[in-house]
């Protein structure tokens, strides 16, 4: 078994890297999917700056995204959480799929999103905010035993207008473990590269390597409490991504709360590394002909 694991690591290290012109958003999804056969490995963290009576927390997560076809991207998430003065816990995993129904680029490009979540109530990564937002006041010892099998769907609409990307998401989530209603959420973002033309030289700090923008996200209530933007968390967040090298990128976003729910500020940051041709290499490794 260790021999196979070592071989897999060597294979990952030898496949070609690729240019990952990554979206800078943390919550909003646009219509760009992974290229077929590429594997993207990303680590992110959501750090919550507390209000009075809350505790500082950090919720790291790892994301493995794979381009199954040109119109289907599948991602696996592993997530955890550590709270100051409390404990550090594993909060579960998610399996996300995004499908692009239309072949060509249109003014408005829809993406269908379906995710299964096997998490617990201590989850604080806040990849989406639905209902009234996460519980960030109760201790982990109370939250972690409460399991949540959730099904989440999104309608993603995204548009490219000159160099700008404009995207909006509407989220519906259902906890299959509890007899509670549906929870709703939204995200909206826009972003553009800092330079439209690529320079002829290799450079790390050229403006073309940076994408900046803004996103807004929050909850929209539940079927039980009512579809409403009141009594839930809403954030506004500048976002920036930096193409560190051809195959890696760094992302940063400070999200500021617009309401009294949730954390005062969410500091989000992450690093992504993309491997091109991972699918064919993996198939070859297991004896396939690719």
């Amino acid at each position: 078994m260790p021999r196979y694991f070592l071989a897999l690591l060597v294979m990952i290290g030898t496949v070609l890297p690729c240019a990952a012109q990554e979206s800078p958003y943390f919550v909003t999804y646009d219509h760009h999917l992974e290229e077929p056969g590429n594997l993207e490995i990303e680590t992110f963290s959501t750090m919550g700056i507390p209000r009075s009576g809350q505790h500082l927390y950090a919720a790291p997560y790892m994301e493995l995204g794979y381009g199954v076809t040109g119109r289907w991207t599948s991602e696996l998430y592993l997530e955890g959480q550590g709270t100051a003065g409390d404990s550090t816990v594993f909060t579960g995993w998610r399996w996300e799929n995004r499908f692009r129904p239309l072949k060509r680029e249109h003014f408005l490009n829809p993406i269908l999103y379906l995710e299964y979540e096997n998490i617990n109530e201590a989850s604080r990564i806040q990849k989406e905010i639905v209902g009234g937002g996460p519980n960030i006041t109760s201790p982990n010892s109370e939250l972690q035993p409460v399991k949540a099998h959730e099904l989440e769907t999104k309608l993603i609409l995204s548009s490219t207008v000159h160099d700008w990307n404009i995207a909006g998401n509407f989220t519906v989530e259902k906890n299959l473990s509890e007899s509670e209603g549906f929870e709703f959420g939204y995200a909206f973002g826009f972003a553009r590269p800092l330079a439209s033309l690529a320079s002829g030289r290799e450079c790390r700090f050229c403006r073309e390597n940076f994408i900046a923008g803004m996103e807004f996200y929050g909850g929209l209530g539940t079927t039980e409490a009512g579809f409403s933007a009141h009594n839930t968390a809403h954030y506004v967040a500048p976002v920036v991504s930096w193409q560190v090298s051809d195959n890696s990128s760094f992302h940063f976003s400070p999200a500021i709360a617009l309401t009294h729910e949730g954390s005062l500020v969410l500091i989000r940051f992450g690093y992504g590394y993309e491997i091109r041709g991972f699918g064919s290499k993996l198939a070859q490794f297991f004896g396939g002909k690719r």
């Binding site: 077929p36 794979y66 033309l197 041709g277 699918g279 064919s280 690719r290």
Partner: protein, 136 residues
Amino acid sequence: MRGIVVTVLAIGFMTSVFAQNVSYQQDPKWQAPAEALARANPLAQKPEATAGGKKLFQRNCVECHGATGTGLEKKRAADLQLTAVQQQTDGALFWKITNGNTDRGMPSFSRLPELQRWQLVLYLRTLTPTMDSQQK
């Protein structure tokens, strides 16, 4: 029960990894519409932008089309030096880069700024046909 669910989901994820179709064949249906064909390259009078196009090509296209654009056989990618490709208008090439042909393995590059896609078109024009590609 939970073990079965996890196993089924794990198999589903691994199946999705192997389900990819990387083979490429020229698609006669992949044609740019008339309005796209007529679009002129706004960088046509700026040959200095070609260097940036080369860099973008190396970052985004070499993986499938090869360093000289002849197309890697194992990827079934198009030979960009072929007359059939070079005879297409700038607008047609721009449209194909923008939209991709996702069912045949060519991704959409609409995530690149518009001018960078035109830079790629500029660079594609510099790919000189070789004897090998002319015989294809």
